[in-house]
Symmetry: C2
Subunit: 375 residues, 2 copies
């Protein structure tokens, strides 16, 4: 019966949502390579190469730098299950959906969560962070979302590491939607812990979460009082496979790693800074085109993410109907808002291979046609 299920025959969509973004053709091609075993010497060399590439993209020298076998949320959980113990104070900057997820996970691992709150779309100043950390001493971990995919806001990070460290806290940063799409300098900015995702600005399929932890964080990990209460994401076990004696933990997804290695090579071939400039330039073109259509952007210019733009749904337009028409008539995929922004914004991602001038030209003309009267 189920044999009647056909060959895979998915429509070709232009992916301009919050991710997955379009995967670069070279990445897809590389992923058709036949597999090798996870202890093959050739595979072990590939792991070293992937880590070297990832350190360059993260702008770090951290030894503990490798992809977690899961999506960005698995990377987030890796941070909380390894670096939080019951009773630890964790301060979280709450200004969107993914910071709420952080609060949920931190509590799951026993943290005493202290929230600093801003409206969805706002960002935190150094003074606000300084005050929150001073008021909650001692703080084990202070967490911020660099690129908030639910709002389109870019949190400035320079100086935050210094403040966190002055208060004895580790700085954790979610850079799921910023890695290689916006300036991010793990070592220079004093970021102790960061996680990202393969399917955003890196232009690879979902399924891997690049992760990095600095020396001080690793020391804290090794001095834990209790065992890490999560087996699959336990960094003390994972680092034995990635960084030490190659002790088997779980079978890595060979094919996803082939793809990520190719995606990281593409980043460095383009040049990390040139890639940041491209993401910014294509985003600015989108902002211009949206404003030319009379549409308002949700985030004020100085805090806008280059990789994800939030456009206010104009009065009189039906949010879902416009997106359905975009998908059905033009094969363009963008997303709506959720939580307090449901029905109020469209989320347009221009990440990795999706960040191309012609995609913006097409999207804005399609939007014009739809808004001008569903031609």
């Amino acid at each position: 019966m189920t044999l009647a299920i056909n060959d895979l025959n998915v429509p070709y969509r232009l992916l301009l949502g919050p991710g997955p973004s379009a995967v670069h053709p070279r990445v897809l091609r590389t992923m058709s390579t036949a597999l090798v075993g996870y202890l093959d010497p050739e595979w072990l060399s590939l792991m070293d190469e992937e880590q070297a590439l990832l350190r360059d993209v993260f702008q770090t020298k951290n030894t503990l730098t490798f992809p977690i076998s899961g999506t960005g949320s698995a990377g987030m959980e890796t941070a909380f299950c390894n670096f939080v113990e019951p009773g630890d104070t964790v301060v979280i900057g709450c200004n969107g959906y993914f910071s709420e997820r952080m609060c949920e996970m931190a509590r799951l691992y026993g943290a005493d969560v202290k929230r600093i709150e801003k409206s969805w779309g706002d960002v935190f100043t150094q003074e606000e962070v300084e005050a929150a950390l001073a008021a909650n001493k001692p703080v084990k971990l202070f967490a911020l979302i660099h690129a908030e995919t639910s709002t389109g806001a870019l949190q400035p990070l320079e100086g935050m590491g210094e403040i966190a460290h002055r208060h004895g806290a580790l700085l954790l940063v979610d850079c799921v939607t910023s890695l290689s799409g916006a300036p991010l300098k793990i070592d220079e900015w004093g970021i102790d812990l960061a996680f990202s995702a393969s399917q955003k600005c890196l232009g690879c399929p979902p399924g891997l979460s690049p992760f990095t932890a600095g020396e001080k964080a690793v020391e804290i990990l090794h001095r834990r009082k209790n065992r890490v209460p999560n087996w699959y994401l336990d960094l003390t076990l994972l680092e034995k496979y990635w960084n030490k004696e190659r002790v088997y933990h779980h079978t890595p997804s060979t094919t996803l790693h082939y793809g990520l290695r190719e995606g990281l090579r593409l980043v460095l071939e383009e040049g990390l800074e040139d890639r940041w400039v491209r993401h910014r330039a294509i985003a600015e073109y989108l902002w211009e085109k949206m404003e030319a259509l009379g549409l308002k952007l949700f985030i004020r210019r100085e805090h806008r993410l280059p990789s994800l733009t939030t456009v206010c749904v104009p009065d009189g337009a039906d949010d879902a109907a416009v997106r359905t028409r975009l998908r059905e008539a033009y094969n363009i995929d963008i997303a709506g808002g959720f939580g307090p922004l449901k029905g109020k914004i469209w989320r347009v991602g221009l990440m990795g291979f999706s960040s191309r001038r012609e995609n913006v030209t097409l999207l804005s003309e399609a939007l014009r046609e739809i808004l001008d009267g569903r031609k």
Copy 2:
């Protein structure tokens, strides 16, 4: 500097180890398909199809049947973090490496673990299970490894569900190395919980863990006293995306799912029973060839796995040197033993697309050349 890292250029290996097995070319080809978004109506249909295919392969009607976003170990952890609460008694049949992993995970989630022990390579009888469950009442969960990859033993499962249920326990089965490679009937055999892996007999890349849970197990899940203490693997959140209102949890790995869907179609095209017969026939050919070389098999015939055969390293042969020569001169990948079997056995996997007569012919002739004096 890292730009000097070359194009991916891995050697072509014949994968005859414990997994990953060779990925079917149609699966790799399918995975080069461009991605769609995770809420695209076309994607949601694919999810339904993947679940229907998976139910057929598991031989179950269970609603909660979908792949977990991780490898087999993530599937194992899913079972323990969702169905065990602190203080629950869990009985585990311990006769190899992966049952030790089960004990570790069960303890991590607060279980009172009762081990039934057998030597590595032995299997449990119904009488032994009956006695263990009677001695440890009340038992929440009873766990067995169907196909123990560290030893090559196949645990008979018929009747075990009935015994478990008579004692009020759920039956959990690890079928990582058996799903579609050996007879397995989830519903008929009364198995309440099972997990597998994509990279074994299903012939797909690693990264997904097919999972199924019966009605009684799902009721127990919904009646938990405490929240599931693992966010990424929380089935109460995952089922909302897979089975209910499509609430976003984490971004699924589109590309791995494309591949798994194709792998499952290949299973059903061949026919599940024909596929079991093929795995058994090719394994029997291997057993014959190994015995013709004067090699002993570690597991006695009636308990041998069709998907993974353990061959005793003959006196005078250097375990590692033989495997290195196989890899370097013939591009054949097999594995050694570990734990108490380190240096004593070779592990030869014949799974999915690797389960082919010509692979056995080649391996046995290569082994003959090496053992006959390293020609």
